[in-house]
Structures are given as C-alpha cells and as structure tokens.
C-alpha cells in the first residue's frame, strides 16, 4: 500500500523529489527556526523590546515562530497535508477555536487580578 504524498511546501515554492527528501527538508527548516529563537533568546536585541499590543515585540516573534513550527510538524510529520479537508478541519478548527477562547478568557482574567492587586488596598511588599 503506497500512499501518495504532497511533496511541496511554501505553497509550491519548494518542491521535493521524494517523501524522504521532504522530511529532511522540513527538519532543516525546523532547525533554522529553533536556532533563530535561541539566538534571539540569548541576545535579546534592544530594538525588539518595545511593547506592541500589550506584549514585547520579541515575545510576539517567539509565539509566531512557535506556531510556524507547530504547522510544519502537524502538516508534514503527522501528514495532515495528505488527509481529507474534512478530517483536517475537524481536528484543527476545533482545537484552534477552543484554545483561543480559553487563552483569551484566562489572560484577560489574569490581567484583571493583577490590576486588583496593584490598585486596590492589598499590601504585598512585606
């Protein structure tokens, strides 16, 4: 039983000859992304420290790079690219919707509790 794999990433920008070659290609991509994260994490460039939408720009970069890595692990290592749209949507949309919802609620509440601690009459510096 030989499955047909889709052998292109970046919407067809890079095409691979065989599935094995694609796996090594994706490994190189993931390693580069991780290396960029580690270098940024060690040096923490001052230019990326300004706050955008409530968080440091550097942290936004880390989160976006993480989602990029998650995409390639799911799409190429777990072969989500080769599954039917129905299966892909059942898995990805469900998870993405529920997780975003949960994160929004909890972070919103965490920020509120911080405000209560800092602005109300609660003493913590002892």
């Amino acid at each position: 039983m030989v499955h047909a794999h889709k052998l292109e990433i970046f919407r067809g920008l890079i095409k691979f000859k065989s599935n094995t070659q694609k796996i090594w290609g994706v490994l190189i991509l993931l390693s580069i992304v991780t290396a960029v994260e580690v270098v940024l994490g060690i040096y923490k460039p001052a230019s990326l420290m300004n706050v955008v939408l409530g968080m440091k720009l550097l942290n936004w970069i880390f989160i976006i790079l993480t989602i990029v890595k998650a995409y390639y692990i799911t799409w190429d290592f777990m072969h989500m690219r080769d599954e039917t749209p129905g299966l892909r949507r059942a898995v990805v949309w469900t998870a993405v919707f529920l997780i975003s919802y949960l994160i929004f609620i909890l972070l919103q509440e965490g920020g509120y509790v911080f405000d209560v601690y800092s602005d109300e009459y609660i003493k913590r510096d002892f």
Binding site: V2, F62, G110
Partner: protein, 332 residues
C-alpha cells in the same frame, strides 16, 4: 423484506461501508485523542499564562533560572541545554516519520532501525529532563523568603568590561553560621507520630549577620523594573528588608517555596514539564512495544505498517507540545 439495508455494496451515504474521511478507525481515534490531549495541555499552559499575567511585574526571568549545562560547572549558559533537548526531540520525530515512510514501502529493516533511533532519542530526552529537574530542585544561590511570601535574593556589583554588572552571590558564601538551635524533628528521635520536613542549612539571623559583615552585598527583590531587570535595593534597604521581613532561607525548589520567585513558578514547572515528561515516557514504552512487533514481523504478516503510523502520530504530538512548552517556559 425490501426495506432492509444491504451493507457493503452500493454506496448510499448513510448506509455504512462509507469512509468520508478516508482514514481508518484507529487513525481517526488517535487524531481525536490528540485533540483532547492538546486541550488538556493548553489548559495547563493557559493557567500558567493566567498566573503569569497575575504576577506580571514579579515573575522569575527564565534566563536566570535555567543556566546550567551538564559537565560545565559554574558557567552561565542560558538556553543552551534546552535548545539541545528540543533538537533531540525534533530529531527523534524525524526518525519516526522516516520509520513511517519505510513502513509504507514495506521495508522491515529500515523500520526497525528508525524505530530504534526514535526510542534512543526519547530516552535521551527523558534523561535530560530528569537532570533539569534535579538541577532545579537543588538550586544554586539560595534566597530568603519574607513573611509576605516574597523572595529576596543576594548579589553584588562587579566590574565587567568597564560596566557595573549585578552578580548573584550564594547564601552559603556569606552567611555566618552560628550555633544550631535545633535538629530536624524525626519520628525516630521524637514523638513517634510527629515529623517535619528538612530544616534549611541556614536561618535568617545567620544570613543577616553575614549581610551586615559584607558591605558589598545587596538584596534583589522580585519586582521587575522598567529596564526589564529585577530591582536591586540600596545597602540600608537591604539590611532593613532582611531584618524586618525575612522569615526562612529557601534553597532550591519544592511545591511550597522556591528560591527563584513566586511559588507558582515552580509548581507550574513541575506540573507541566512533568506531565509532558510522562507523555514522553509512555511514548517511549509504546515505541518499544511497536519496535518488538516490527522485529517479530507482526506487521509484515498483517501486510500493513499502520500501527507504526498511529504511534508515530502520538510521538509527533509529544514533540508538538514540547515546542510550546519550550516557548512559554524558556523563551517568553
């Protein structure tokens, strides 16, 4: 009876024998298990985010906590070892997907070797995590916990390339040890039903005496200032804060207190990396079972290596979770 349903023949959409998702039952269920497990992990990580936003101005800085690399004592190398662990896990994901690929081509030798390499990668990762835990629990500098539950750390300003840099000082290096007031209360030495946890090596009075004697040492609080660094107190404030608020000396980490900062930091570290490590461990065990089945030729006889693919999905998921744990614990 012409109303009865004939299965397995002409495809009526609701008549059964129809695979709209073109995936086997086992694979589908593995995907849905992964979705539910992903929600469990996001629950933990979102709770971590909640606590962090709650203490956004005093959360420990990960770069100052995870600085150790095995065999390189006394060097501060933040991120290096975790990056290595991440790479090991990604690498074992690659050997896993190569095993799946070899399985599609019914190549038993290749599947065996790639499964073996995957198991080795998993074992190295779990071992590294155990070492991370041990280092984290042991701690390195020690700190004083105040009555309000805050952590006060120690350090001094030193010249480094013409710049004044704050360098941490270990409690063990400056505390002046006096007479011990008491020993640990054990069941064997006291009343048989009473015992207590380990007493810290130093008490606050000894630390205070040491701080008074060394005029270069200053106290650093948990509060993060505008430059993104922890606030360092002046000499007078340092002495005052230890004398008035100091309660116990904390060395290393447990679930109640840790020397790095708020207790929740260690709690989440143990819980999330522990839960992930448990997943890796069970993944390694599943991989070992599949590995032996491959050697015994079970899938060769079955005519399909789909079991390798299913356990592969789980293994990649463990890698996927680690990518997020890595970001939120060590980077952000």
């Amino acid at each position: 009876m012409d109303t009865s349903v004939v299965t397995g023949t002409q495809e009526k959409v609701w008549g059964g024998g129809n695979e709209p998702l073109k995936a086997s039952y086992g694979k589908l269920m593995m995907w849905f298990f992964i979705v539910s497990d992903a929600l469990t992990f996001s629950g933990f990580l979102a709770a971590y985010g909640f606590s962090r936003f709650k203490f956004i101005d005093s959360w420990p800085i990960a770069d100052e906590v995870f600085t150790h690399v095995p065999f390189l004592h006394g060097q501060e190398l933040p991120m290096i070892y975790v990056a290595f662990m991440t790479f090991i896990l990604i690498m074992s994901s690659v050997t896993m997907v190569l095993a799946v690929d070899a399985g599609h081509n019914m190549n038993k030798t290749k599947v065996t070797w790639y499964m073996f390499l995957t198991i080795i990668g998993g074992v190295i990762f779990v071992g590294s995590q155990a070492w991370e835990w041990a280092t984290f629990i042991k701690g390195d500098y020690g700190a004083v916990q105040t009555k309000g539950g805050n952590i006060l750390q120690f350090g001094e300003y030193v010249d480094k390339d013409g710049e004044q840099v704050f360098k941490r000082v270990s409690v063990a290096d400056f505390a002046i040890v006096g007479e011990k007031e008491r020993v640990q209360d054990n069941r064997k030495s006291g009343i048989w039903y009473r015992s207590e946890s380990t007493i810290p090596n130093y008490n606050v009075d000894e630390v205070y005496a040491g701080l008074e004697a060394n005029s270069n040492i200053l106290v650093r609080t948990q509060i993060i200032n505008e430059e993104g660094e922890k606030t360092v107190l002046s000499r007078e404030e340092s002495l005052k804060s230890i004398k008035e608020n100091g309660k116990t000396v904390v060395e290393g980490a447990n679930l109640v207190a840790n020397e790095y900062g708020t207790a929740l930091f260690a709690d989440f570290f143990f819980f999330i990396t522990g839960f992930h490590g448990f997943h890796v461990l069970s993944g390694v065990l599943l991989n070992i079972i599949i590995f032996f089945n491959v050697i015994l030729g079970t899938y060769e006889r079955r005519g399909s290596y789909e079991m390798v693919e299913k356990v592969g999905l789980y293994w990649h998921f463990v890698d996927l979770v680690w990518v997020f744990v890595f970001t939120f614990f060590y980077l952000v």
